[in-house]
Amino acid sequence: MRWPLTPRQEQAIVRLLLLFLTALSIFILAFIIFFILRHGLPVLSWEFLVRNPREMGKEGGIFSTIIGTIVLIILALTLATPLGVGTAIFLTEYTPEGRLTRIIRFGSECLAGIPSIIFGLFGFILFVTKLKFGWSILSGSLTLAFMILPTIIRTSEEAIKFVPQAYREVSFSLGGTKWQTVSRVVLPSALPGIATGVILSIGRSIGETAAVIFTAGSALRIPDSLFSSTRTMSVHFYILAREGISLSKAYGTAAVLLISILSVNIFTYYLMNRFLRKYS
């Protein structure tokens, strides 16, 4: 090849380079999953899932951390879903685009950009110390709810916007009030899309560590009240790995984490596609 290259030659080289980089990216990401599952799946067993951890997690399973994760997420969703969906309804149905909607959207976008450690810091100072909830399910789920709120707002808003305008007009023309239109026509039609956002934030919550470890704590007992501290799977995994308690248990926990997050995300993807197909 002679210098300077012809555009065709240049294109061929660039194309090859791009292909290589793309393949590399995919390989790296796929490798991470493969690596975790390769070492983690052999550790998995029914016992691992339904036994409580013993000796700080060196022995036993991860049952209490599964429970902790589920409880925390359910509570966080119970709080964040109505807030998020309500905000989305207000933004799309109740107010014209203007300064107010811009402020609300800006707030939500900023909230989405705040790192989880800041949420952790905030939850720690407000819920754990100032309000004296201590390291507890309550503090953890409140913090988590604040964190996933923007995701739920954004996806709900998109889902609501996807509902054909004609549905609203039909409802109004049949004498429906605004709220009747929203509650009987718009929300039912947007439900699959809203569910997508909710499930998406479940996926995010499962993997969250920084915000949770400083608010829900890391107790290994099965929680018995809103005020008991609990340890989620991801926190457990972090502690196992960082303090070198047990590498094999860490792999096992990581595998459970990954499998649950990937299934949640695949399900989200499936839901979203179905929703989009329905309205386009």
């Binding site: 905000t87 402020i103 707030g107 450690i117 604040f146 993997g207 560590t209 972090y238 790995a241």
Partner: protein, 285 residues
């Protein structure tokens, strides 16, 4: 009928209150971080926080400069790794690959965006840290290691948003340029990339924000030393790690100093947010 209208008004008011929740939470977080973190900064002077190298909080030394530099280094490193990979992937998948491949790979990558950061950190510890230690020297826990892992972590973000903004361009751009005899690569370089600029920049800023804010993965692989690193193979501590590492057990001024760390982090993130917001505004118009 008046009853019905009053009910509608009430619902509207109720929804307005709910809609203000996000912005109120944002305000609440800012207030708490700032009221906890600012007083100590005033007491000891901002200069000491921003420009001093010594972090011995129990003895009243609150120099955050090493952590600020640490965050900058690690983030810059992450961008060096993540941006070329992400952009290359986005360009290849939108311009050179078949639609079938793209429709398979894009969702896959978006699924991978869900891998939790602790898992990335763990991969760093068990694979990359020993590898770096044996092949490049140093303790293995280093700026270099952290940059690679963070770069991989922000890859899905950059890739998926860049793909979206390249796909959003009207096909006429591309057809027009090809019709003028340009090669595909010339078209990409001279027409498509400039046209999709704001979207791509927004994706970079988002990736940047994610890298600056990442905590658990960085703690696991960056080594967390409070001294200034002299090479990229030296360990380093970021602002986020500084908070997370010490928050569990401290009180008094030391704890306030962690909130001061939070203040600095918060300000950096807010600047990034605003920038992302402005570029995506420009993208919309």
């Amino acid at each position: 009928m008046r009853g019905k209208e009053n009910r509608e008004k009430l619902i509207q008011l109720f929804l307005l209150t709910i809609a203000l929740s996000a912005i109120s939470i944002l305000a609440l977080i800012s207030i708490f971080i700032f009221t906890e973190g600012l007083p100590i900064m005033f007491r000891h002077g901002f200069k000491k926080f921003l420009f001093s190298l010594d972090w011995y909080p129990s003895e009243g030394y609150f120099g955050l400069l090493p952590m600020i530099i640490g965050s900058l280094l690690v983030t810059a490193g992450a961008m060096v790794i993540g941006v070329p990979l992400g952009l290359a992937g986005a360009i290849y998948l939108t311009q050179f690959s078949s639609k079938k491949v793209r429709n398979l790979v894009k969702p896959m990558i978006e699924l991978l965006a869900g891998i939790p950061s602790v898992v990335y950190g763990f991969i760093g510890v068990v694979i990359l840290v020993p590898f770096v230690r044996e092949n490049f020297g140093g303790p293995g826990f280093s700026v270099f290691t952290a940059s690679i892992i963070l770069g991989i972590m922000i890859l899905p973000t950059i890739l998926s948003i860049s793909i979206d903004s390249l796909m959003a361009l009207p096909p006429s751009y591309r057809e027009g340029s090809i019709a003028l005899g340009a090669t595909q690569w010339q078209t990409v370089r001279m027409v498509l990339l400039p046209a999709a600029r704001s979207g791509i920049i927004a994706s970079l800023i988002l990736g940047l924000g994610r890298a600056v804010g990442e905590t658990m993965a960085v703690i696991m692989i960056a080594g967390n030393a409070t001294a200034l690193p002299r090479s990229i193979l030296d360990p380093v501590r970021t602002l986020t790690s500084n908070i997370a590492l010490e928050m569990g057990y401290v009180s008094g001024e030391h704890r306030q100093a962690l909130f001061a760390t939070g203040v600095i982090l918060f300000i950096i993130i807010m600047i990034l947010n605003t920038m992302a917001n402005l570029t995506s505004k420009r993208m919309a118009s």
